[in-house]
């Protein structure tokens, strides 16, 4: 169900209220997400960070409407939502999220057409505008299988942004890319965010990625998936604070996760400086 795109006065873009997701497996009941509550403000970049199995991906799938919550509620622009809809567009990690039988342009145009987001006569221009935004205009008539991983993910981002969703949900979108491409796309995403002011919920297990991208970081721990702490990353707003604050944040997250049975599920590309390593 699509929520209204006009935000109610002061309503957060997304409210997650006492959300739990349980499911049955052959080995019994699994509590993937347990009583999670947080809000995402309009235009905010929020990171869901945690080791594998902490329920961050399940939480994102629940927000997207692919998985029904066991208890709790979600509000988009202050209105309850159930099921998937183009107000919460997902960029997946998998490259096969692009339709292989459509070109870059076709992929970006398709959801604009089927959702009726813009009049038919404006679909092409709108799609090209967003393809230019991710700098793929030279490749607009290429089929996905001819593109590199980074270009595929940029196409998926353009396709999602063109729909102008209330929230852009990103499920480890750079997880299958090589380190260099990942860094470049992180930088580009920050740029895109500055230019479009889109609200982003971004799932990752990389502390580096979290502190590079997030204004606020929701740190989650597994068994059951819970919110450990919500951190504010001032560095994301004030670049001059960046170096020092990023180090502090990195170490704080590291110690938060060390306290738990995190099984080294969190990758840390740069280790925290040895002297201040928290046990």
């Amino acid at each position: 169900m699509e929520a209204s795109n006009t935000p109610e006065l002061h309503a957060p873009a997304l409210s997650v209220i006492h959300l739990s997701v349980h499911y049955e497996t052959e080995r019994g009941k699994v509590i993937a997400v347990e009583d999670v509550s947080f809000e995402v403000n309009q235009g905010e970049k929020l990171i869901l960070l945690g080791p594998s199995g902490c329920g961050k991906s399940t939480l994102l799938k629940t927000i997207a409407g692919f998985v029904p919550p066991t208890t709790g509620q979600m509000l988009v622009n202050g209105q309850p939502v159930v099921g998937p809809g183009p107000d919460r567009v997902v960029v997946f990690q998998e490259f096969d999220q692009l339709l292989p039988w459509k070109t870059v342009l076709g992929n970006v145009e398709y959801p604009l057409r089927v959702t009726g987001k813009v009049p038919k006569s404006e679909v092409r221009a709108r799609a090209m505008e967003f393809i230019r935004l991710v700098r793929l205009e030279k490749f607009h008539d290429a089929y996905p299988h001819t593109l590199s991983g980074g270009m595929k993910q940029r196409t998926a981002i353009a396709r999602s942004l063109a729909l102008e969703p209330v929230i852009l949900l990103m499920d480890e979108p750079f997880g299958s890319l090589d380190a260099q491409t990942r860094n470049r796309l992180q930088y580009e995403l920050n740029e895109l965010w500055t230019r479009t002011g889109i609200t982003i919920v971004f799932v990752t297990h990389s502390i580096e990625e979290a502190v590079t991208l997030g204004q606020r970081i929701v740190v989650m721990t597994p068994h059951p998936g819970r919110v450990k702490k919500v951190l504010t990353n001032e560095a994301a707003l004030a670049p001059e604070l960046a170096a020092k604050r990023l180090l502090e944040l990195r170490e704080e997250i590291w110690s938060l996760l060390q306290g738990d049975d995190a099984e080294n599920g969190v990758s840390l590309n740069l280790p925290p400086s040895g002297t201040s390593m928290v046990e």
């Binding site: 692919f66 809809g85 999220q97 292989p100 089927v114």
Partner: protein, 261 residues
């Protein structure tokens, strides 16, 4: 120039020429009457005559029309069958059971029953054709539908696609390699089955196909014409397989970089 160094097509042309010459030499140097074993040159002459006077074309058209109807009906039946099999466990079991049971049974073997039920006419031919393609095609479609990446389905859900749109815009194109492979097999089965059925059945509503043409020529002892009928069947088979299907493949799954099933 050494034989191995020649291009593949030229080597094949050479072999074909050699076979034709051998045929001609044997036919001319034996006591056989052309009524029993016509020379290659006579077959070629007859072929050109039958092609130019439209005889072969009109018989081929009858066969191809029935075949096309059968393929359309069979594809619809397979699509319907597979949609049920994808959604219900019992449907899947039924599909697996029926395919494994009916696979060893040549479609032509059900022709007598079809004749009993539907009478001497096109209905019986269609019945046999549909029977010959519904199983292999359903198996391929089923394999295709169950291997569509979950991410693609999620993307479709995310755009809020309706069920019919999900089917036509996501599932069917995502299954294209399997559909194409299934159609290829279906075509091969159907073409052979149809010719066999026409041989058995003969004239359908005053008109006959290529199978009937061959059978008829035997009565007139037009042996060269019989060979022409066989050649037409081979040529149409090759044409569909290596021109039509290949063109479809190049414009679709190859272009999209989709792995062929």
């Amino acid at each position: 120039m050494r034989y191995q160094a020649l291009p593949g097509w030229l080597r094949k042309v050479l072999i074909l020429t050699l076979l034709a010459v051998l045929w001609e030499v044997i036919a001319r140097n034996t006591e056989n009457s052309p009524l029993v074993f016509p020379a290659f040159s006579l077959v070629v002459q007859t072929f050109v005559r039958l092609l130019l006077d439209g005889t072969l074309v009109s018989y081929a058209r009858v066969s191809l029309e029935v075949l096309l109807k059968g393929m359309v009906l069979g594809s619809l039946a397979a699509l319907l069958f597979t949609s049920v099999a994808v959604q219900f466990t019992a449907g899947r079991d039924l599909l697996e059971l029926l395919t494994s049971m009916c696979n060893p049974l040549p479609a032509i073997a059900v022709l007598p029953i079809a004749l009993l039920w539907l009478g001497l006419g096109e209905g019986s031919l269609l019945f046999v054709l549909v029977y010959s393609i519904v199983w292999p095609l359903s198996l391929n479609l089923y394999a295709g539908f169950t291997t569509v990446p979950q991410t693609l389905l999620r993307v479709g859900q995310n755009f809020g696609l309706s069920r019919p749109r999900m089917m036509s815009d996501i599932l069917i194109p995502a299954t294209a390699p399997y559909i194409l492979a299934g159609m290829r097999i279906a075509w091969a089965f159907a073409w052979r089955t149809l010719i066999a059925a026409e041989l058995v059945l003969g004239v359908v509503g005053g008109k006959g196909g290529l199978g009937w043409f061959i059978y008829q020529q035997r009565h007139f002892l037009e042996t060269a014409s019989m060979f022409c009928g066989l050649a037409t069947i081979v040529l149409i088979g090759l044409l569909v397989e290596s021109v039509i299907f290949r063109a479809i493949e190049e414009r679709t799954v190859s272009r999209w970089g989709m792995r062929t099933a």
